[in-house]
Amino acid sequence: MSNITKKVSWSSRGDELGAAGEGTPLLNGSEQPRHSRQVQLSLDYDNIENQLFLEEERRMSFTGFRCLEISRWLICGLIGLLTGLIACVIDIVVEKLAGYKYEAIKQNIERFTEVGGLSISLILWAVLNFSFVMVGSILVAFFEPVAAGSGIPQIKCYLNGVKVPRVVRLKTLVVKVCGVICSVVGGLAVGKEGPMIHSGAVVAAGVSQGRSTTLKKDLMIFEYFRRDTEKRDFVSAGAAAGVSAAFGAPVGGVLFSLEEGASFWNQMLTWRIFFASMISTFTLNFVLSIYHNNTGDLSNPGLINFGRFESENLNYNLYEIPLFIAMGAIGGVLGALFNVLNYWLTIFRIRYVHRPCLQVMEAMLVAAVTATVSFTMIYFSNDCQPLDSEHAEEYPLQLFCADGEYNSMATTFFNTPERSVRSLFHNQPGTWNPLTLGLFTLTYFFLACWTYGLAVSAGVFIPSLLIGAAWGRLCGIWLASIASIWADPGKYALIGAAAQLGGIVRMTLSLTVILVEATGNVTYGLPIMLVLLTAKIVGDYFQEGLYDIHIKLQSVPFLHWEAPATSHWLTAREVMSSPVTCLNRIEKVGTIVDVLSNTSTNHNGFPVVMQPAKLCGLILRSQLIVLLKHKVFVELAGSRLSRRKLQLKDFRDAYPRFPPIQSIHVSQDERECLMDLTEFMNPTPYTVPQETSLPRVFKLFRALGLRHLVVVDDANRVIGLVTRKDLARYHLGKYGLEELHLAQT
C-alpha cells in the first residue's frame, strides 16, 4: 500500500525500542494537535510519462524548449534578487530596532548607575526582550508552526524528497521573516542566517510557480514548472541563494544545495544555482551599500561579516596545525554535548510543551532569562577596558568601571550576536580577560542550547560561532601565556568558532567553503578544513548533528545516503507493504471514490492492473482527483464531443494544493460510470522483483527520487508496494539492524 497508514509518525531512536515496553513511548512532536491530520507525504520527483505528457512534448517546438531554458535562468535571477532583498530587509530592520532597544537600555542604565535602582534597568531589559519575543513566538506558534527554528532541517527534508506540509508557502515566509526579526531583536541567543536559507527556498518555490495560491493571484507565467521535479530544482537554487545572502558565500551556497540534494544534480543546474547565489549576494551587497551611504561599494557581502583577516600577525605556522586539530576535537566534544542536551530538551518539549500557548510562554521566559543572565553577568563583571577609538564599541556600558573605560563583558552580551562575533574575531589582544571569556562561553552555551527548538524562528549558526569564538579566544590567550609563543587571539577565535559550528551542525564541504568565504581569506582553508574534519569525526562518535536529530524528532522519513550497512539480506518482499489496493484499468467511479475517501488508509499511489492482477501502470491520488473533478467518465465522453480534452495543464493548475476528495461531489448515478485510466496513468512505473535486496531498492529511491516502487512476481502481478516510509524505518543500531516503530499521533 502506498501509505501504510494515516497519521504515521516516526519514533526516532533505536534504543527506545527497549524502553517502549515499560515507559511511555516518545512522541513525535513537530505536528501540533490541530495539524495532526497532516500526513508526511513524499514529493513526486519522477516524471509521469503518460500519454498526455507525450502529447505535450510532441507539440512543443524547439523554440519552446529554448524559451523554457531562458525562463529557468530568469527565474534563478529573480530568486537571487528577491532573496537578497529579503536579507536586506531583515538586516536593516534588525539593526534599527536593536539600535533603539540598546540605546534605550543604555540610557536607562546610565541614569540608574548614578542614582541607584539598577534592578529597574534589569526589568526594562527583560520586558523589552520579552515583548519582542512574544510577538515573534505568537506568530510562529499560532500562525505557522513550520516556521519555527532555522528551517534548515525542513529544507533538507524537502530536498530529500519529503513533502513537509506548508514549508514553502508564502505565509511561512512572512512569519519566518517577522519571526526572525523579533527573535534577534528580542535578544535571544540566535542568529538570522539559518532562516535566510528557508526564506530563499520559499521565494524560489513561489517565484518559479508564477502564482501564489495564498494570495489567489496567478500571473499565468511559468506554468510548465508547476510540478515537483522542476520546483525542487528551484528550491535548491533558493536555498543556495539564501546561504549566499546570509554568509556572503555564493560557492558555499551552491555546495550546500549539492550536499543536501545532490542525488538530483547536473552541471547546468549547478551553474544556474550559482547564478542565483551570485545575484543574491550582489543584490544584498548593493542595497546595503546604498543604505550605508557608500553606493557602489560592493565589499560587504553577506549578513554576517567576519571582517577582514588581513593582518600579517594572522599567518599560521606548521606547529599550529596540531593545536588547531586539538581545538577541532574540543569543538566536536562540546558540539556533541550541545546536541545531547538539546535532544533531551526537545523530547521534553515534545512531550509536555506542545500547546501553542505554552510554547509562547516558554519563549518569553527564555527571553527574560537571557536578559537577566546577561545583566547579572555585566553587573558583576570587574573586567574594565579603556575605550578605543579604532574599535569603537557600538553600545559601551560603563557601569562601575572607571571613567573612560567600559565594561568588557558588555561588548559580548550587550550587543547583537553578529557584532559580538566580529569583535571576538578582531578586537586586539587584551580586550577581554580570561575570566570574562570563560563565563561568557559557559552561559552562552547553555542559553543557546536552551533557545534552539523554541517556537521562534531563529538559527543556530551565529550562537555556535559565538560560543566557539569565545572559547577559541580563550585558547589563544592561554597559549600565548603558557607557551610564550605569540598567538593572535583573533585567529584562535576563528578556529574555535569553526570547530564549535562544525561540532554542532556537522556539515562538511559546504560549511568549510562557507566559513572560508565569510572569512575572505583562502589561506585559512586548510586549518578550517582540518578543524571541521576533526570536529565531525569526534562529534559523530558521540551524537549525530543537530539538524539530523531534529529531522528524526520531527518524524520525517528521511533517506540517508546509503541503506543501513547490514541490510543486504532484507528483500523487497519483507520490506514492502502488502496487500496493495489496486485499480483496474477501466474502473467504476464508485470504487475509486470509495478507495480515495477511505480515511483509515490514505494511499497516494495506486497500481493499475489488468485482470488478473497484472501490472500495467501507476496512478496517483492527485491525478484521480483531477479526473473526478473534471468528470472524465467513459459514458460522458461520447455524449459531450464538444468538450475539450483534458490536458496536462489541468493537472498543473491544481498543483500543488489538490482538493481533498471530500470536496468533490459525485452523484449516485455517476458512481455507476466507468473511468478509463489508460491515458493518465504512468504506463511504465519502476518495478522490482520480490527478491531484490533492500540496498538496491534504497538506491533506486535515493537516486531517482521515487515515491512508489511496485514489487511484482515473475508473472508481473502486483504483490506489494515500497514507499519511502518502508525504507526509512530501518536503522543500524547497537545490536545490528533495527526496525523503528511507527507511531500514531
Binding site: T24, L27, E362, V369, T372, F400, A402, D403, S577, P579
Partner: protein, 313 residues
Amino acid sequence: MGFSGCQQKSPRRLVMSPRGSLLFFILFLINIYAFVNCDAGTSLASGEQVESPSLAWYPSSPADSFVPLSLMSSFPEDLEISNYCLELLGLFSQRYSDYVKCLVPAARPVRVCLKCYSGYGSLLNAYTNISSNQMGPGNESCRDSLLRSDRLMLVYVLFSNMQDLWEKSNCDFCITEKFQNVNNETLNFMKNLNQTLSCFEKYQQGNHTELCKNCKSSYKGLNELYSKMEKTLCIDVEDAMNMTRILWSKNFNCSLPRDETVPVIAVSSFMLFLPVIFYLSSFLHSEQKKRKLIQPKRLKSYTSLMNIQDKQS
C-alpha cells in the same frame, strides 16, 4: 642603504630616542650635501641642539660631522645650488629645529598642539616656500633642487614626518585657522580643567571621600563639556581628560560603588526561578502526548522485529 643601516644600529647601541638620532643624522647629511658654501657653524649648531638631550652622542658628534666634510670635493658650477635656495634651506632648518625643540618637552603631559602650534605654522610656511612653484631671483625653482634631486628626499621626508605627527595628534581641531591661536572651545575646556585640577589639589591631602564630594560638580562639568565637544579632539584635550579621569577613578577612587547587589540578585533570582516553575508545572499538569504504536502492514510472516533478529542469529 648605508644610511638606514647606520640608523638602525644607533638606537640599539646608544641610549637615545630614534627620532633624535634620525634628526641628527639627517642634519649631518645636509652638511655633506651642502658642503663648502654652507655655513657649517649654523648646521652644526642645530645638530647639537637636537641631540643635546642625549649625552652619549655629544663627544663623538663633532668628529663625525667634520671628517666627511674634508673628504668632499666640489662639483662644477652648474650643478650647485643657488644661494637663494640655500637660504630657504637654512630657514627651514632653523624652524625645524625650533619646532622639534618645542615638541620634545611637550611630550608628557601632552601639550604638543597648544604649545607648539606657532612653531608648526612657521615650519609649514618655510616648507611652502621651498615647495612652491614660485620662481626665485635667478628665475629658478628650489623645489626640484631641494626636494627631488636624490633618492633620499630628505627635506620632504623630514617635513612629512612632522606633518604626520601634526595630523595624528589632530591638532587642527584645537587651533584656529592659519595657526593664529587656540580656539575658544579648547580654551574653555582648559579653563575648566584647571578649575578641576586645582580643586583636586586643594582636597588631595587626607580623606579622598571629601575630594569626591567636593570636586564632583566641577569634574562632572568637565566630563559633560568633554562629551559635548566634537567627536575628534586634539590630543592635548584628549590626554588631559584621560589623565583627569584616571586621577578621579583610580587615584582618588571616586567611581560609583556597586551598592545595589541585593535588589539585583533578588530580581534576577526571581526571573531565574520562573522557568523552573514553568517546566515543573507543565511537567506535572500538561497532559503528555501519548503515542500509539502501529504495526506496518506486511505479508503475515514478516511483520515483527523478532523475525529480523531471528534471521540475523
